[in-house]
Symmetry: C2
Subunit: 324 residues, 2 copies
């Protein structure tokens, strides 16, 4: 396999949990007899949409920021992102009392920019390409001495996200399957490492949009195969799986299944209507795999991570047509 990057351990997740306990919410697990009957399984929804900032990203960002040594962190932290990680990192920096530098494309919706600004972060706008973002972030780090906190290809971030798995398996110890959405892979790799210790018999399955199925293809190929042009309504699931998360996928993830954008929107709407909770498209992807029959769950006890609930309430996907 060539040289492997250092792996994520259960001990790192346990340390993360103790470190971030005062800073994040122990999110509830909700159930729905209506949704259980519809799929013939017992579903346990881990509600990270109720997490601080409305997404699981608070966990990894807090763990990364609070595990940096004082002499280093006082120069601040930086990232390039327009999504939930940016706002979560800005919040973690504010809580630790250090500056946050966020590079975002100038095409970022005003609402997301405002969420980052509310946390007091310094924002640098750039062209909406990955190259421009990386260049701007590198310049920002060179100028300020800030530490770059990658949204997923970072062991401290992965350990933080893994606390979702520890909590869920404490709340519902006897799960047969754990399902979570996959973008860069930070969340599912953390959950997989947690489950490996706490519930090794559980099947660990990732869910990707069909239009951004790099992790599914990478797992089949045994090496990272990026998507040339990810295209999905799930704006949180467009990243390419990272090197460190992928190493854990190879060890511990049983499968990655894909769902259409139509299935994601239908699942999202079903969750809203039946459970009366708000999930964003990315947050509904794991349930979409169950609802669309993309994996066998009949008679099983299934943990389903609802990863976040941030979206623009002015433009709901069922008010505009979505490709199937």
């Amino acid at each position: 396999m060539g040289s492997q990057p250092p792996g994520l351990s259960f001990a790192l997740i346990e340390q993360a949990r103790a470190r971030i306990a005062p800073l994040v919410t122990v999110t509830p697990v909700l159930t729905s007899s209506t949704l259980d009957e519809a799929c013939g399984a017992r579903l346990f929804f881990k509600c990270e949409n109720f997490q601080k900032g409305g997404a699981f990203k608070a966990r990894g960002a807090c763990n990364a920021v609070f595990s940096l040594p004082e002499a280093q962190v006082r120069h601040g932290v930086a990232t390039h992102s327009s999504g939930n990680h940016a706002a979560a990192l800005a919040r973690a920096a504010r809580l630790r009392g250090v500056p946050a530098y966020i590079v975002m494309p100038h095409s970022t919706p005003l609402a997301k920019r405002a969420a980052v600004e509310r946390q007091g972060a310094h924002i640098t706008l750039c062209e909406p390409t990955l190259a421009a973002r990386e260049r701007a972030a590198a310049a920002c780090v060179a100028r300020t001495g800030a530490t770059l906190v990658h949204p997923y290809d970072d062991l401290a971030v992965m350990a933080g996200q893994g606390t979702v798995g520890v909590e869920l398996l404490e709340q519902v110890p006897d799960l047969d399957v754990l399902l979570a959405p996959v973008s860069g892979g930070g969340l599912l790799s953390g959950i997989a490492v947690a489950a490996r210790t706490l519930r090794p018999v559980a099947r660990i399955v990732g869910v990707e949009p069909a239009g951004a199925d790099d992790a599914a293809r990478s797992l089949r190929a045994g090496r990272i195969v990026p998507c040339e042009r990810p295209e999905t309504i799930a704006d949180g699931l467009r990243a390419t799986i990272g090197v460190r998360p992928f190493a854990e996928f190879l060890r511990y993830v049983d499968d990655v299944v894909t769902v259409s954008d139509g299935a994601i929107v239908a699942a999202m709407r079903h969750i809203w209507e039946v459970m009366k909770i708000i999930v964003e498209p990315s947050g509904a992807a794991a349930y979409a795999a169950v609802a669309a029959g993309r994996l066998e769950v009949r008679g099983r006890r299934v943990g389903v991570v609802l990863s976040g609930g941030n979206l623009d309430l002015e433009s709901l996907p069922w008010l505009t047509p979505v490709r199937e």
Copy 2:
């Protein structure tokens, strides 16, 4: 005061609780540090939007249907309503294995009609006037021998709704204020009677839309003063307060405050965005009173009933203009 109708007692609420326990959900109490900071109080949201059928109405309907003697109930139950009570009564009848006859105006949205049909109820359509509804319901009762279950002017229904208060005061015993929306008054009268025993120092306050403020005016006048033409976006809050609920209001309710439709929509949206849960306009009214400063809550511990979460996801109020 002339002849008083028999009153609601705490014992009736306790009996209701035992009777409906297998049929309804003990709904969670959620909190939000963001909303607490915004109003300077501690808010405890009683999430009846998570109740069976998406509204507190399941409680009263189940208590009414399951407290009827077998010889009577086997002829079925009936009501005229197009809203949450109709679906809740239809569900309660299905659970008891007896027919439900629901009279609804032919203008009822298809989604609400479908919800009642899914419970297997017999639907009679009529003209959209109160007179036509009452006439059709009377004809239905005469034909079938079914028992009419009024949506609020009924002690068994009021006792069922009162279980919201018992649960909330067990979950958060030391509340200073209890806030709930008022339409026919069944919910708040039940809560008031529960609090009278469990937490007599708590202030009991109802909230009405300014365009359907019959309870507020009735409480001031000391007699029921109907609204000629209720007009509010909160479709669940348009009824006139009932005789039996009003008797409890006179005894135990400290105040009824009003909120504008604009304040209701703003509160609803704020709850969706911050708490990531879905409440209907009626369900957001109690929080609207806090958010709009319609009562003094600074430093207090306030129970806020989110009464329901059923609405048409195609036509959200912030996508269309609302009168202030």
